[in-house]
Amino acid sequence: MLRRINWRRYGLVVVTLPVVILVFVASAFAPVIAPYDPYALDVLVMLEGPSEKHLLGTDELGRDILSRVMQASRISIVVGLVAVGIGAFGGTLIGLLAAWFGGKIDAVLMRFMDIVFCFPAILLAVILMANLGTSVLNAMLAIGIIFIPGFARLTRAVAQTVQRQPFLEAAICLGVPGRRIVLREILPNVIGPVLVEAAVAFSYAVLLESALSFLGLGAQPPEPSWGNMINTGRGFIDQAPWISLAPGVALFLTVFSFNLLGDGLRDVLDPKLRG
């Protein structure tokens, strides 16, 4: 069975998919499979190291770190999905419009994208939250907006290549309505590359959300997030390094595996590695 897999083409996906699935399952079923209530305080076991009872130890308020890491993964996943959703939808739409209309519309849209691209996500998040207040929703919005230009540029480039194909010009000459050409002939060719970009963007979104929470701009305590857990652990780094270490490792594994999944999807979609 394993011998029949084309490793050059599917290898990365086969290796990273289990980690990705593990992250999704752990976050989806966190309330059921977590050993403790992630919010329950227990002053008797403050700052205890990993043990049989608490596999990853406890924090300064005696909460179980493993349960909190699992609970925190839910925020990371939701932020990642929503931010990538905003970025992929907005970027694909803008990219398709820019490529289809061309000329002035293209120039204006893409220069606007260049401006958005210049904004560091953290700065945009700070501006948004200064106006709308700190919340996870605003963090998702800020990260999502930052992703739009990347998706827009990618979509525009792919759409422009498709538009130069004779089959597309044949459709135009048949009088196929513009909207139908964009949705039925161009969009299906764009989805593959967008999917690859989405996997990489997802890992970046998780990282950004943690950075925002670390700065106190994302999830607010007592709501656990990998970022604010790492920040809390900073104060106890000498006595209880596991408080920061556990969410740090979880963050690393998630980002790493989604990044590799993106590379893996690229291999799967690469016609040169086929057969």
């Binding site: 004779p166 089959f167 010009e169 000459c173 009088g175």
Partner: protein, 255 residues
């Protein structure tokens, strides 16, 4: 006149929002006309502007100055309805048969699109019409369910002709329709065009670098060089007694 072009000019410019790059003059004061039922050839080397001329008449490339009329109406000034009717009366067949069909749709689905858009055939009758068209261009009607990559180059070019004929066009514009095909298939496809022209009664404009194709297919011919028409006339006369050096070179290289 079915098509009349007057003083057409087109310059391709590089550059962006603030910059105006140097341009390439692709059409330089081009005027010609094409009568109903006529077969007009356009010959020239690559880069002579012949393909741009064809794309201009297809309304795929906008022109900078001059005018093109189809059946008396300026094509650049058409409203939605007029443009839709124009699209159905003028059809292209492109050079490269390998990318002329969307790889995701079956050949039959691509051909059926013309009937769907025209709306002159009952939905239930479309498969029958597609089969009849395929038969007309010398293909097995069973190929309707095949994907484009399952067909040979010659078969695909025949299918492309079927797609163009689905809307019963008055004018067929051919851009190097045989240059990507094997020599043995080229003659078959050209004969097919002649045969179909008798049955479907369309006018024809053919762009090629291959003079023998034009002498076989066309009544009249335009010779283009660097965007301008250097010579024009009845095909037989022009080949027998070319006036310009450029045409003479084309004729002698073709023999």
């Amino acid at each position: 006149m079915l098509v009349a072009a007057r003083n057409l000019r087109k310059t391709f410019r590089s550059g962006g929002l603030f910059r105006r790059g140097a341009g390439v003059l692709a059409l330089d004061d081009v005027s010609f006309s094409l009568a109903e039922g006529e077969s007009l050839g356009v010959v020239g080397e690559s880069g002579s502007g012949k393909s741009t001329l064809l794309r201009t008449i297809l309304r795929l490339t906008p022109y900078d100055a001059g005018s093109v009329t189809f059946d008396g109406a300026e094509i650049a000034a058409m409203d939605r309805g007029a443009l839709r009717r124009f699209r159905q009366r003028v059809q292209p067949v492109f050079q490269n048969p390998y990318s002329t069909f969307n790889p995701r749709f079956s050949v039959g689905a691509s051909i059926a699109l013309g009937f769907e858009l025209l709306g002159n055939v009952d939905k239930a009758d479309i498969p029958g019409e597609v089969a009849r068209l395929l038969d007309d261009v010398g293909l097995d009607p069973d190929l309707a369910s095949a994907l484009p990559h399952q067909l040979s180059g010659g078969q695909r070019q025949r299918a492309a002709i079927a797609r163009a004929l689905a809307v019963k066009p008055d004018l067929l514009l051919l851009d190097e329709p045989t240059s990507a095909l094997d020599v043995s298939v080229q003659a078959q496809v050209l004969n097919l065009f002649k045969d179909l022209q008798g049955r479907y009664a369309f006018s024809l404009m053919l762009v090629t670098h291959d003079l023998p194709v034009v002498t076989f297919m066309c009544d009249n011919v335009l010779v283009m060089k660097s965007g301008a028409i250097v010579e024009r006339g009845e095909t037989g006369t022009l080949v027998r007694d070319p006036e310009s050096d450029y045409t003479r070179k084309l004729v002698s290289s073709a023999v």
